[in-house]
Symmetry: C2
Amino acid sequence: MNRLLIDMETLERVAPIIRNVAHPLRLRILDYLDREGEPKSVSDIMDAACVGQAIASQQLRIMKDQGVLSSKREGNFVLYGIADQSVLLLLDCIRHHEAHK
Amino acid sequence: MNRLLIDMETLERVAPIIRNVAHPLRLRILDYLDREGEPKSVSDIMDAACVGQAIASQQLRIMKDQGVLSSKREGNFVLYGIADQSVLLLLDCIRHHEAHK
DNA sequence: TAGGTATATAGTGATATATCTATGTGGTGA
DNA sequence: TCACCACATAGATATATCACTATATACCTA
């Protein structure tokens, strides 16, 4: 076996994204958005994650900056959705891992 | 669809582990150990990751503390191996993701 | 345009991480 | 036991992150 290692450039690009997502609240938000299957408002997300408005907004912004989420305004509400489906692999890993132990 | 969300307790337990692993050097080390398929010495790991001795030792310790790696001494050398195979799912995710774009 | 609702951002202090240098420790062989 | 090799840890500094409060902004309705 002499497979090539994943190159450092890739690791340096991917690591901070994973790192940012690997936060209890942010994982919860992603899990919620994944389950709902459609963009949800900040208020809904606050309820699902049991956090205050500022925190929710900050976490959402962080993930939006990373390209993990996208947002669109609809009247008074701003709806957030998953922009990069590949982060859901992480959730799959967690679910899979939890199921087998 | 009304699947349950992953509970916060699980997320809080798993997040710091993922977070710690989601570091370019540490991912590289895991990728290397995965590819080699057997425990390797700190010196080998230094070469594979292109880092100095102290840094390598520190990263290894961090992952060992988290239970991701294990170590055993063999003469002058200390060999590190992967203790928790489930972190390899992360590498699979990265490889898979990189392959499809 | 005034007032309300929903969301975003600024500012802050506490805590954690990254990285580097220097030094300590454990094992081996002369 | 001394010197050496492989590795571990301490200490210091810079930087990033967290969680919170207060305040600002955007949009709607009347």
